[in-house]
């Protein structure tokens, strides 16, 4: 069953600390929704509130239109995978997966059948008689997924489920998880601090910072038009280049004055002159003979791309060059910005001001 989750004006305080500040969100049926933010952003708290493991200080949670603030976790028809998997160490894998079904009073035969089905699907059918401590991290993670999915929950919650896996396994598990979610079509809410994981998995992403919802959007939107400085800096690796300066109007046209260069902003409009920050992604800086002169400080060849760090006066910028660039530090090159990709943020509010 596909379920919708509505978070309405939710505030959570721990003592005097505000963990979540008036959050409003709608998670659509069948969506793979990612809550993304650095540690302390409140993303896990929000997930726990949806699960029913934490109370809200203010606001409401609705699942399929029904207010669930006072509904205990077991009656919300949600399933959750924890960061540390939280398997029952004294049960076998079979009993771990079967517990949610036993609690619901299913017959022994139908339990055996459902456990078998999900185990085959997650490739853990050979592990059913083992105890959790006999499994590798990747296997434990699959058991945790199986336990969560075996009873066809209407909402599937995952709290950084990949963070305890090593890098290679993490990428594999990510692909697997995305395919699994698409097959099952279950509404999924996924918490992570890893922006690349969020980008790879999500239908939509909500970016949180210090308990405040910064932006909600699909990965393309968030990457190409981050709504504020925080999101701009958090999404994308290497991070977006940020250049402080001033937007001024001269002779009827707008220009951006940074400490080391001035940029004519044709075809752009601003409401007023102001202090601003210019954002440009590394792949939107082009090496070109008619550009701004700068000095190379480091060259990082990654294989398919090369990251070149250059200094324009006192500002350090990362440039992404497609392919392998044979460049040496301290050499001089000229760069140009892809003008249609430049974003401007107000220095005071941090909000996007490019139209």
């Amino acid at each position: 069953m596909m379920s919708e989750v509505v978070i309405e004006n939710v505030t959570k305080k721990f003592g005097s600390v505000v963990a979540l500040d008036h959050i409003n969100l709608t998670i659509r049926p069948g969506e793979f929704f990612v809550l993304l933010g650095p540690s302390g952003s409140g993303k896990t708290t929000l997930l726990r509130i949806i699960a029913g493991l934490e109370d809200v200080t203010e606001g409401s949670i609705y699942i399929n239109g029904k207010k669930v603030n006072d509904v205990p976790p077991k009656d919300r028809d949600v399933a959750m995978v924890f960061q540390n998997y939280a398997l029952y160490p004294h049960f076998t894998v079979y009993d771990n997966i079967a517990l949610p079904l036993k609690v619901r009073g299913l017959s022994k035969d139908s339990i055996a059948q459902r456990v078998k089905e999900i185990a085959v699907r997650l490739h853990i059918e050979d592990l059913l008689n083992k105890k959790p401590r006999q499994l590798s991290g990747g296997q434990q993670q699959r058991v945790a997924l199986a336990r969560a999915l075996v009873r066809n929950p209407s909402i599937f919650l995952l709290d950084e489920p990949l963070s305890n896996l090593d890098a290679k396994l993490r990428v594999e598990a990510r692909t697997f998880l995305k395919g699994l979610q698409r097959d099952l079509g279950v509404t999924t809410i996924y918490v992570t601090h890893d922006q690349s994981e969020a980008m790879a998995l999500a239908t939509r992403i909500a970016v949180l910072n210090k308990g405040v919802l910064k932006q909600v959007g699909d990965p393309y939107e968030l990457y190409s038009r981050p709504g504020d400085i925080f999101t701009a800096g958090f999404i994308g690796s290497p991070a977006m280049n940020m250049i402080p300066g001033k937007i001024v109007k001269a002779n009827g046209s707008w220009r951006f004055v940074a400490s080391d260069f001035t940029l004519e902003l044709n075809n752009m409009n601003f409401s007023s002159e102001r202090e601003a920050i210019m954002g440009i992604r590394p792949e939107h800086i082009i090496i070109s003979d008619d550009g701004i002169g700068c000095t190379i400080s480091t060259v990082e060849p990654m294989g398919s791309v090369t990251y070149i760090t250059v200094n324009v006066g006192g500002t350090s910028l990362t440039v992404q060059y497609t392919g392998l660039a044979k460049l040496e530090p301290n050499a001089t090159i000229k760069i140009k910005f892809a003008m249609d990709k430049i974003l401007f943020y107000d220095k005071g509010t941090g909000k996007l001001i490019t139209e």
């Binding site: 699960a51 077991k74 959750m80 939280a86 398997l87 029952y88 004294h90 517990l99 949610p100 336990r147």
Partner: protein, 284 residues
């Protein structure tokens, strides 16, 4: 081996000798002939071995009584009282109380009160307990002793198990609540089994404490099974003075007999004991 390891090993050997020497001493005393028991300097390696001490009868109220092998009527009382009080104290009081104190009533003073209860000396409580047990008509009965023993078993068990319950990751219980278990089922099916090493430690430590207890048993009981509930520490007192002289040989022989059950249980349980004490020590 590193220097620190050598030092540690040396310390452990010294500590083991200090701990084991009394056991060695009581065993050789039980096997010595009388002439070697009383010599100065003492004899550490007896030249003659005898079992006669085991056949020396003790004395009760000036009358000839049983030998060291006659401990059965006291043993059965000790076994019943120690087993029941350690099981009841652990399962019915210690575990639920510890769970509640670590999960629900996180009150530091309540937790400390449990600790303070262990600090009250037996001597301060023996008179009030005597009066209470007498009024309940439980003098010289199993239940009289069990009730009184719970006064030291319950706090120790609670304190010990709090460490174990606080080490169970919250997320496991949360997973169980999402999986559909009620709070009671989480306790019985998830938390209690996960704290099983602690439960075993609590049962064993309290069993040994109850087995060894002397003062309450002295005051609250006066005859062995089947007429009363006198326990083995009281059985030993029959061997202190026989025919107006100190009877170290007979006492040692009786001592050897009554420590056998404790030693068997201790050996069986040692792996849990090591794990248990270190685990319980981590958190308040």
């Amino acid at each position: 081996m590193k220097k620190i390891d050598v030092l540690l090993l040396a310390l452990l050997i010294i500590f083991s000798i200090i701990s084991l020497f009394p056991i060695y001493w009581i065993v050789i005393t039980a096997l010595k002939v009388n002439s070697e028991i009383f010599t100065t300097p003492p004899v550490f390696f007896p030249t003659k071995i005898t079992l006669s001490n085991f056949y020396t009868p003790g004395e009760r109220f000036g009358e000839v009584a049983q030998t060291a092998f006659g401990s059965f009527p006291w043993m059965i009382n000790s076994a019943v009282v120690a087993v029941l009080s350690s099981l009841i104290g652990t399962f019915f009081i210690g575990a639920p109380a510890a769970y509640a104190l670590t999960r629900y009533l996180k009150n530091v003073w309540l937790a400390r009160t449990v600790l303070f209860m262990m600090m009250i000396p037996e001597a301060a409580l023996v008179i009030p307990f005597y009066v209470m047990i007498m009024r309940m008509n439980l003098i010289n009965t199993w239940w009289g002793l069990i009730l009184v023993y719970l006064s030291f078993i319950a706090p120790l068990s609670t304190w010990l198990l709090m460490g174990f319950f606080s080490e169970i990751p919250r997320s496991v219980e949360e997973a169980a609540s999402i999986d559909g278990l009620s709070a009671y089922k989480i306790f019985f099916r998830i938390s209690l089994p996960m704290a099983m090493p602690g439960i075993i430690v609590s049962i064993i430590v309290n069993f040994i404490n109850a087995w060894n207890e002397f003062l309450y048993a002295l005051v609250l009981t006066y005859t062995p099974f089947p007429t009363g509930s006198q326990t083995v520490p009281l059985f030993l007192t029959d061997f202190i003075v026989i025919e107006k002289t100190f009877a170290w040989g007979g006492l040692a022989a009786a001592g050897v007999i009554v420590m056998i059950p404790s030693i068997i249980i201790g050996l069986y349980a040692q792996k849990y004991l090591v794990k248990g004490w270190t685990m319980g020590a981590v958190k308040e």
